[in-house]
């Protein structure tokens, strides 16, 4: 159904005045966001958006912005929110872009309707609905983009926190930092096992100095990793067990039998070297 109401007509015929009022509103609202977007850019964005909105509203039904015909408007707003996320805008600063359009549109409608107050309220309602939906869509995209950024940071952190280092020929070490959960253990396990295959290392040292707490779940993850390493044909030493953690493990009744544990990495390395038949003498 094509829109025949005078919302579309008003948008088209009074575009210049809507634009000038809107940019005024935007400039006032964006005083707090100064520096992140220039007045010129803002003006250009407003103009471009109004162009898209006007041309779309001439042919499309204004009550359903999820229709394919609204695609240009939606993608314009999506791009805008994404840009604003990257520029460090808050969600309300982003949403105000759409919501500040309300007043100019209402003014235009009022002038367009003349004396027809019934038609005016009807069209006002339509306009409110349309602008609210567009605003919500903007905020939604804003949040999605934010979440994307957070997700990317999480994976980066994950990769950063699990480096496998080669200490000696045939000896690998994995200094674990941060809380161990299932997802991290999986990644840690995979990267360690892969490295064992690549370097043909016989001994892997897992250092848990940087692990703040050990509960039954963490202990179970550690046991799994150790078992997987053993299945591959390498040995595993766990080092960096702090006194409190030793106490917790015993209190929890976790059975670490059959696993070599050492208080610190130096002891573990000494043992690993000994097992590989390497010895040092002091001069």
């Amino acid at each position: 159904m094509a829109s025949t109401g005078f919302l579309a007509v008003a948008l088209k015929s009074r575009r210049p005045e809507i634009l000038s009022q809107w940019t005024e509103q935007l400039e006032r609202a964006s005083a707090s966001a100064k520096g992140r977007v220039s007045a010129q850019d803002l003006k250009a964005q407003a103009k471009d958006f109004l162009d898209v909105l006007v041309s779309t509203s001439q042919t499309q039904d204004t009550t359903d912005i999820s229709a394919p015909g609204w695609q240009p408007v939606r993608s314009f707003l999506e791009d805008l929110s994404r840009q604003r996320v990257l520029a460090g805008f808050s969600s309300d600063e982003t949403a105000i872009f759409i919501f500040s359009l309300k007043r100019p549109v209402f003014e235009a409608l009022k002038k367009e309707s003349g004396k027809d107050s019934e038609g005016l309220s009807e069209e006002m309602w339509k306009a409110t609905e349309l602008l609210d939906k567009l605003g919500l869509h903007t905020v939604k995209t804003f949040q999605l983009s934010r979440e994307e950024v957070i997700g990317r940071q999480q994976t980066e952190l994950l990769e950063l926190s699990t480096p496998v280092v080669k200490l000696w020929d045939g000896i690998l070490a994995l200094p674990m930092i941060g809380t161990l959960d299932s997802a991290r253990t999986q990644i840690v396990m995979e990267s360690l096992l892969q490295k064992i295959v690549e370097t043909e290392s016989q001994i892997a040292i897992i250092d848990i100095t940087g692990v703040p707490t050990v509960d039954t779940l963490v202990a179970q993850h550690l046991l799994k990793t150790v078992t997987a390493i053993r299945l591959m044909g390498a040995d595993c030493i766990i080092s960096g067990v702090r006194p409190q953690i030793a106490q917790t493990i015993v209190h929890l009744g976790v059975d670490l039998q059959g696993i070599t544990t050492k208080a610190n990495l130096a002891d573990a390395l000494a043992l690993a070297l000994k097992r590989n038949g390497i010895s040092f003498t002091k001069h």
Partner: protein, 129 residues
């Protein structure tokens, strides 16, 4: 029907699994291997699974079983070249294969096998890895 070849190297048997194991093939291997240990009087079995990319609980248990059977027939088994994905799968399935000796590659496996045999002919303290 295809079979997994069992090669003889001195007093050892070498089994290289290079195809995807299905249950029938696994049973056949169990049968062939125990027979070969008996017939050839082998003292050690080296199973190379470096080409095996998928395991299920059945294959996992079969590997543990073979090791146990060989032990009864007085032969030691060393499992070599397990892929990381396979190791993780077995652990997640709860199959930690206790009592099965493992090594990173065939060469190391041979060294381990010789050591295990030397130890079991001497004192019995260090057999458990």
């Amino acid at each position: 029907m295809d079979r997994i070849p069992i090669l003889r190297m001195g007093e050892f048997l070498l089994v290289t699994i290079q195809v995807d194991m299905h249950d029938q093939l696994a049973m056949q291997l169990q049968d062939d291997l125990t027979r070969a240990i008996d017939k050839k009087g082998a003292k050690g079995v080296l199973i190379d699974i470096s080409a095996l990319e998928m395991v299920d609980s059945f294959i996992g248990r079969m590997i543990a079983d073979i090791s146990g059977m060989a032990r009864i027939l007085d032969a030691r088994t060393v499992l070599v070249g397990m892929q990381p994905a396979v190791a993780i799968t077995l652990v997640e399935l709860g199959l930690s294969l206790p009592g099965v000796a493992t090594a990173l590659n065939v060469e190391r496996g041979m060294v381990l096998l010789r050591r295990l045999l030397a130890e079991s002919s001497g004192d019995d303290h260090f057999i458990n890895r």
